[in-house]
C-alpha cells in the first residue's frame, strides 16, 4: 500500500509539473484575495497589521478549498479514479496521496510565500515566523478536510461552492488557532498553546479524515 501511495503522489506531482499554470492558480488566487483586503478596508498600517493573520489565513483556507476539487476531478473524468479504486488497499492510499499532493502543491507553497504577504501588511518578523509555522501546521489539515469535501461532492455540478459550504465549518478550529497563534505572537505572548492545539488537530485529522474520505469515495463511486 505504501508503494501505491508513493506512486500516486509522484504521479500527481508529475501531472502538476506538466501543467504549471494550473498548479500555480491557487497561489495566484491567494495573492489576489489577500491584496483585496487593504483595498477594501483602507491602507492604515496599524489596522492592517491587526487583521493580517486573519486575512492571510482566510485566503489560505479559500485557496485550499477552491483547488482541492481539481485533484479528483481530472482522475474522475478520464476514468483513472475507478482504476485506482480497484487496487487492494487502494482507497486509503488514494485518499492519503491526494491529501499529500494537494498540500505539496498548495499548502506548502502558500506557507512559504506567506512572509511576502505578511510584509504587505507590515507584520513584525516574529509574527511572520509564527505565520509560516501556523500555516505549515494548519494547511495539511485543510488539505485533509478538503479531500473529504472533494470525495463527498465528487462529480456534482455545484462542485467547489458546495464543497466550501460543507467543509468550511469543519475548518474553523484550524483557522482560529492558526490566526490566533500569529495574533498572540504579535501581542508579545507565546504561541506555544496554539501550536500544540494545531499539532493535536493535525494528528486527529490525519488519523480520521482519510478513513472518512475513503468511505466518502466508496459512497460516491458505488
Amino acid at each position: 500500500m505504501s508503494s501505491t501511495f508513493v506512486v500516486l503522489v509522484a504521479r500527481d506531482l508529475r501531472l502538476a509539473a506538466r501543467r504549471r499554470i494550473d498548479a500555480a492558480l491557487p497561489l495566484a488566487f491567494f495573492t489576489v484575495a489577500v491584496s483585496l483586503f487593504p483595498l477594501g478596508v483602507g491602507p492604515e498600517p496599524q489596522m492592517l497589521r491587526q487583521i493580517a493573520p486573519g486575512v492571510v489565513w482566510v485566503a489560505a483556507l479559500l485557496a485550499a478549498m477552491l483547488s482541492v476539487t481539481q485533484l479528483y476531478a481530472s482522475d474522475l473524468s478520464d476514468g483513472s479514479l475507478e482504476q485506482m479504486l480497484l487496487v487492494p488497499g487502494g482507497r486509503i492510499a488514494i485518499v492519503a496521496a491526494k491529501a499529500v499532493s494537494h498540500w505539496l502543491l498548495t499548502g506548502l507553497p502558500l506557507a512559504l510565500a506567506a512572509p511576502l504577504f505578511g510584509l504587505l501588511f507590515d507584520v513584525s518578523p516574529a509574527a511572520l515566523f509564527a505565520l509560516v509555522a501556523s500555516l505549515v501546521l494548519g494547511t495539511p489539515v485543510l488539505s485533509l478536510l478538503g479531500g473529504l469535501g472533494a470525495a463527498l461532492t465528487l462529480g456534482l455540478r455545484s462542485g467547489a461552492v458546495l464543497l466550501i459550504l460543507i467543509i468550511v465549518p469543519l475548518c474553523i478550529p484550524v483557522l482560529i488557532f492558526g490566526a490566533g497563534a500569529v495574533a498572540a505572537v504579535d501581542a508579545g505572548q507565546s504561541a506555544r498553546g496554539h501550536y500544540s492545539l494545531l499539532g493535536a488537530l493535525l494528528i486527529f485529522t490525519g488519523l480520521l479524515a482519510p478513513v472518512a474520505t475513503a468511505a466518502a469515495l466508496r459512497i460516491a463511486t458505488e
Binding site: L152, L156, R157, L165, P169, I172, I176, F177, G180, A212
Partner: protein
C-alpha cells in the same frame, strides 16, 4: 417474538406511515398545551428581572430553540448513521425529515438571541461563544441540506449526508471549544449575551415546559415530513398507493 423485537415491525416506511399518521395529532395537541402553560407561566406569572427588565422573557423561546437545534442535529446524525449502517430506508428518511426543522430552530435561536442582545448589550449581534457556535451549527445544517439536495441519486445522497452529519457531530465539541477559546482571548472577561438571569423556579419551569413543547412540535412536524418523503420515494410500492387511496374518501382530512 419478544415485545421489543415487535417494534422493528415499524422500521419500514410502509408500517410507519399509518402509525405516524395517528400520532401526529397527539403530538400537536401536547405541544400546544405545554406551550400554552409555559407562556402563561413565563409571560404572565414570572416576575420582572432586576437587571434585564422584561427583555429576559425572550429566554422562554431562545433557550428551548437552541437546545432543540443541538438535539435535532445529533438525532439527525444518529438516524442517518443507522440508515447507512443497516441500509434502513426509514431511518434515512427520518434523518432527512429532521434537517429542515433543526435548521429552523437554529435560525430562531439566532434571531431571538439577536433581539435579546440588542436591549441588553446594545448590539444586534455579539460574537459571544454561544451565539457564534449557534451560527456555525446553522452552517452545518445548511451544508447538510445543500449536499443532500445536490445529489440526485437517493441512496448516495442519504449516505453522503450521513457521513457529513457524523463528521459534523464529531467536530461540534472541537468547534465549540475553539470558539470559546477564541472568544475569551478576544473579549477578556466575556460575559455571554445569552447568560440566563438567576432563575426563579417559575421561570425555570416555564423554560423547561416550552422545551418539551418544542420537542413535541418537532415530533409532529418531522413525522408529517417523514410521511411525505415516504410517499415521494416509494411511489411504486403498493402500500403507498393503498395508503393514498384510503385517505381519499375524506378530502378534508389534513396530514
Amino acid at each position: 417474538m419478544s415485545t421489543s423485537w415487535r417494534f422493528f415491525r415499524f422500521a419500514s416506511p410502509a408500517a410507519f406511515y399509518p402509525l405516524a399518521g395517528k400520532l401526529v395529532p397527539w403530538f400537536g395537541a401536547v405541544a400546544a398545551m405545554l406551550a400554552a402553560i409555559a407562556l402563561y407561566l413565563g409571560m404572565l406569572r414570572a416576575p420582572t428581572d432586576a437587571t434585564q427588565g422584561d427583555a429576559y422573557r425572550i429566554i422562554f423561546i431562545h433557550v428551548p430553540a437552541a437546545w432543540m437545534s443541538m438535539l435535532l442535529y445529533v438525532v439527525m446524525a444518529f438516524w442517518a448513521a443507522i440508515g447507512w449502517a443497516f441500509n434502513a430506508r426509514l431511518a434515512s428518511i427520518v434523518a432527512r425529515a429532521i434537517a429542515p426543522t433543526g435548521a429552523m430552530f437554529t435560525f430562531l435561536a439566532l434571531w431571538t438571541g439577536a433581539l435579546w442582545g440588542k436591549p441588553t448589550w446594545g448590539a444586534w449581534w455579539v460574537w459571544d461563544a454561544r451565539l457564534t457556535s449557534e451560527l456555525i451549527l446553522l452552517f452545518l445544517y445548511v451544508g447538510y441540506l445543500a449536499l443532500v439536495s445536490a445529489i440526485d441519486d437517493t441512496r448516495r445522497a442519504d449516505r453522503a449526508g450521513a457521513l457529513l452529519a457524523v463528521v459534523g457531530s464529531v467536530n461540534v465539541p472541537i468547534i465549540y471549544f475553539s470558539v470559546v477559546w477564541w472568544n475569551t482571548l478576544h473579549q477578556g472577561a466575556s460575559v455571554s449575551v445569552t447568560a440566563a438571569p438567576k432563575m426563579a423556579s417559575v421561570m425555570l419551569i416555564a423554560m423547561l415546559l416550552m422545551t418539551l413543547a418544542f420537542w413535541a412540535y418537532a415530533f409532529a412536524v418531522v413525522f408529517v415530513r417523514t410521511r411525505a418523503i415516504s410517499l415521494e420515494r416509494e411511489a411504486h410500492a403498493s402500500w403507498a398507493n393503498d395508503a393514498v387511496r384510503a385517505a381519499r374518501p375524506e378530502p378534508g382530512m389534513s396530514t
